[in-house]
Amino acid sequence: MDTQDDNLISVKVSSDRLEATLTVMPGIDRNYVNSDVVLAKAVAQAIQTGSALTKRISEALIAFGDYDLVERGAFQYVIAKGQASEDGQDSQFTLETELAVIQQLSKKRALQAEKDTKADEDDEHLDHRERSVIMVVKAGQRLGQIKHATDGIDGTDVCGNTISAKPGVQASLQFDSQSIECHDNGAVIAKIAGQLLLEGDSAHINPTLVINEYVDYSTGNIDFPGKVEVFEGIRDCFEVVSGQSITVSGLVEAADLVAARDIELHGGISGRDKGTLHAGRDIHAHYLNAAVCKVGRDLIVEKEICDCTVVVTGSVRSPSSRIMGGHVSVLGTCECWQVGSEAGAHTILSLGRADALDGLVRDTLKLIGKLSAKAAKAKAQMQELNDNPEASSLKAEMMTSLKFEASEAESKKKPLMAALEGTYKLIEEKSEPTLTVQGLLCQGSEIRAGGHKAVFTQSIQGPLTIRLDEIGEMVCVDLKSGSVTPVKNMAKLSPDESSFSRQELPAGLRKAA
């Protein structure tokens, strides 16, 4: 062996052990470069032998055969390659797209609030109230997908040794098992409806939505299936809808609140004739000012109901409250401290009224009246014809026609009477047209009940009760002395065109004495 030639040929392994390269330097005796020499060099580097190496060496030698060392310099050829390892992937939780968008918006809003910056120009055309930043989810809703960490794939170096892959890291995201379930296939599903909260490395769903500050541009409108608690107030023109109850500690401005159950205002609403409160059950408030309120059950107000339009399907239980201005319509009883004001604010109180049902009764009575009139007219005409002894086919025809008319009118009345009876019974069951005033019933106050309207011509000191007597007339009962005075002695009475009078009802439907 020629040592000099031997020094001009080498096989080297790369630092990552993934390649072995044959190098032949200029000046070597070309005859020295053969497969045995190259193989020996490879073996010396502990390169894994085998058919693959033999093949690559042959290829190298073929390539070397055409290679001009003088002109081109050293010859290099990769005679062995390893397989790189593939590191494992870390685990990942990907939020559903719609939730991810809200999350991004929430971060953006928070940043804007921090920097006290205005919305982007791009955002100017959007209604920010509509873009809620709260991730509201329903029971059964898919929240996202977990991709578990993978182990990775080991590699092999040119010497045949294993190159270990780095396994992925399993993230420690904790899902609250009470509210979130993780399926084997990685799907993450909400078990309950509520607000999805991702805090650090934990996620849970809160069935109650807590707004620590205001409902305003930072939150957008709220539409939440569960209870909503607002610790500050609610700004103008914002909406809060709850599938349960709403509690607000601060001021509700000209906003719209809808709750399937109760609305509780620790302060009140200053609606400026635009704000609305709709509750499926009760409304509790310190005060109501210039708002429209629909109450499915009872209304409890501590201080005053001022310039409001209120419809209450249950009762008004506000013995310390004043009702001043506006129109309060109550199906059940009404108790308050004062009605009207010394300054003469026009205040209307409708008792024993459910506006929708009342309207139905009124309209049905009108229809029944028309049908009765039609039947009576036909019968009168038949009587006229009967009185005429002259018989003719024309007369017979006219009589038949009139009989038909009368019969049709009567048959149309039957279902209307049944409907009227049903509706009226419903009103009677719930209706309790009674007003109790603990303090003062002011002059000018208008009380409507039983189809009558009474505008009081003098102020009356309480405690008193206004109710209907056995014949449907309004009376005033002094709760101290027990004396009963017809309201017509203290008020100007007129028919209440917006309601029906019990006198109009068919006799069978009027309340028994």
């Binding site: 017979a396 025809e397 038949t400 026609s401 009989k403 019969s407």
Partner: protein, 122 residues
């Protein structure tokens, strides 16, 4: 069920149509006299006829006699002011199945129709 109304009075036809509507019958053809009825009866093939007596062009009895030459089974109710016994007998001889005297109530007409159809079914 197909029903033909033969009466020169539009009002009467309207009342009868309304009563039939209440009984659930909606396939109804109208004719203004016996001649008109004869021209329509072949194509319409009614299952019941309500026929007035006194009509222009061809009265009810003449129509019934003509109709019965080719159809012995379809029930016919005479709806008429003629109430004398002899007239009733004449109508039955001509082939009428039942009789309603004007003025009638919608209930009376309805009853006659139901009666006639029940008898036919039996």
């Amino acid at each position: 069920m197909k029903i033909m109304l033969v009466d020169d009075s539009k009002t009467m036809r309207s009342i009868q149509k309304s009563v039939l509507g209440q009984l659930g019958y909606s396939e109804i053809e109208e004719a203004c006299d016996g001649q008109d009825a004869l021209s329509k009866v072949g194509a319409f093939q009614p299952d019941l006829l309500l026929v007035d007596w006194n009509m222009p062009n061809m009265d009810g009895i003449t129509f019934v006699k003509n109709y019965r030459q080719s159809n012995k089974t379809t029930p016919i109710i005479m709806v008429t002011t003629e109430s004398e016994k002899s007239r009733v007998i004449e109508a039955i001889k001509a082939g009428v199945n039942n009789y309603v005297v004007k003025p009638f109530t919608p209930d009376a007409l309805s009853q006659r129709i139901t009666e006639t159809l029940s008898k036919k079914a039996a």
